[in-house]
């Protein structure tokens, strides 16, 4: 088994374990999940940080930000 296949299998196993570990949360129990700090994404204030990281590093993407193109970056 190659390293990449092994990683994918581990990721799939972890995802399967997590999906069975989930408990149903009712709307009225979501006060913490709905908190502004719990947003599953970048905050607007991080906009320029994400830009300079994509300019100064070879890696980009999988973070909701630009992953190539649109500017003279990588």
């Amino acid at each position: 088994m190659t390293k990449t296949t092994c990683r994918l299998v581990l990721l799939a196993a972890a995802t399967a374990m997590l999906s069975t570990a989930c408990t149903t949360v009712k709307e009225y129990q979501k006060n913490r999940l709905n908190d502004g700090e719990m947003t599953l994404g970048n905050r607007k204030v991080e906009k320029t940080e994400l830009s300079f990281e994509s300019y100064r590093e070879g890696a980009s993407g999988a973070n909701g930000a630009k992953s190539g193109g649109g500017c003279g970056c990588n």
Binding site: K30, L33, F52, G58, N63
Partner: protein, 400 residues
């Protein structure tokens, strides 16, 4: 009787206050005319320095400052089918000064290439129906002196029946065009050596196509996760024409990189609410591309709620990058190399980024100004193991 009246008044005020705080989807009223939801202004000041500029072949100053400003207006309305339509209109302007770009023509004391302004408007639309399905589309444009870009994207997202999970798919493209501004000593057209609007430069294209999928999942009332994967394909001129490369025979060339690149980053976000005052925001990404760059990136931000309206957010990000096989430093490439670059952004390095932010959302508005709903100030320091260091300070003002 007076006590009873006061109790009724207090109850009435309580109901009014509760209604004022409740979310828009109470089902009692939905606005069917276009309404201003919020306006966000983001400003940043970024400064970097180092001694390995790609313009001068991996040696020389990397000093650069960038002042960035953007304004985003969000409008929304519900249609007759109770679908929520949201429009985002954004305009951004960046102005930068760069000592290394100034060295495209080092004979001038300070040429026009020492500074440039980037202008980038965009518009997007999203529609979410009652079943948790979202459709969206957007267009963007970016212009700077030597680089133009037109972008478009499509979005589809679907929440699960119990609203615990959401799948999303975003397709994007950028059609870019860049002016081929070569280092002064490598220009073959006998040009004046200037860098002005009236110079007649050849151009080249760069196309980017990307697909982003994500799955977000609520694990329990304190914990949620998101898995992300992008597949990005780029073709065309993928280097920059003013990046010099010095070979070991002391000859100078323009950076040469393959004309296609496939990038695959995989990411996971995990947010956990600890107790009543602390939120942990974790992120990890594995990246690999066919230029043989691979990277591991991990970050952790801790949000400490000093009160319900004020948060302190220290953060730390670590990145380890294995550089491309096409990279070598100053005078390290040989004439046998098919592709070559001395751009240290594509080399092997470790980077650290740390800092803190403060977020203020007082109930009566920031500084008592009711419409200034939120203010966030964030500062960070960035270092790379190859000597580059940078500082950034950003401010977000949200008006409602």
């Amino acid at each position: 009787m007076k006590k009873l009246n006061l109790a009724i008044l207090a109850m009435f005020a309580g109901i009014l206050y509760a209604n004022a705080q409740s979310p828009a989807d109470t089902g009692t009223y939905k606005n069917r005319t276009l309404q201003l939801e919020e306006v966000n202004i983001v400003s940043s000041y970024y400064h970097q320095d180092g001694d390995r500029a790609a313009v001068t072949g991996g040696i020389g100053t990397q000093k650069l400052t960038d002042l960035s400003n953007s304004i985003q207006v969000t409008l929304s309305k519900y249609d007759t089918h109770d679908r929520k339509h949201t429009w985002n209109v954004e305009l951004g302007i960046d102005h930068y000064t760069s000592a290394s770009s100034d060295n495209i023509d080092p004979k001038t004391i300070s040429s026009a290439s020492a500074a440039d302004t980037r202008f980038y408007p965009s518009v997007s639309w999203e529609m979410e129906n009652k079943n948790g399905r979202t459709y969206g589309a957007g267009v963007s444009f970016s212009h700077e002196f030597d680089y133009q870009s037109i972008g478009a994207n499509l979005l589809f997202a679907q929440k699960t029946h119990n609203k615990m999970g959401e799948f999303s798919l975003k397709l994007q493209t950028y059609q870019d065009n860049l002016k081929l501004i070569y280092p002064i000593e490598l220009r073959t057209n006998g040009g004046s050596g200037g860098y002005g609007e009236h110079e007649d430069y050849a151009t080249a294209g760069r196309k980017t196509y990307s697909g982003s999928i994500s799955w977000s999942q609520i694990v329990n009332s304190r914990f949620q996760l998101m898995f992300l994967m992008d597949v990005i394909y780029q073709s065309g001129y993928l280097g920059l024409p003013f990046h010099r490369v010095y070979f070991n025979d002391n000859s100078v060339h323009v950076e040469k990189l393959p004309d296609s690149r496939l990038k695959i980053p995989l990411g996971i976000r995990a947010n956990y609410f600890v107790g009543d005052r602390v939120v942990l925001r974790g992120y990890y990404r594995y990246y690999h591309d066919n230029w043989q760059i691979s990277a591991h990136t991990a970050s952790l931000e801790t949000s400490v709620k000093l009160s319900p309206f004020y948060s302190l957010t220290p953060f730390y990000r670590y990145n380890h990058q294995q550089g491309t096989k096409y990279f070598a430093g100053y005078q390290a490439h040989t004439s046998a190399d098919e592709y070559y670059t001395s751009n240290y952004d594509l080399s092997s390095f470790d980077s650290h980024f740390f800092g803190a932010g403060i977020r203020m959302m007082p109930p009566h508005g920031v500084f008592g100004w009711q419409h200034l709903n939120m203010m966030e100030l964030r500062a960070g320091h960035y270092t790379q193991s190859n000597g580059l260091h940078a500082n950034i300070i950003s401010l977000n003002l949200k008006f409602k």
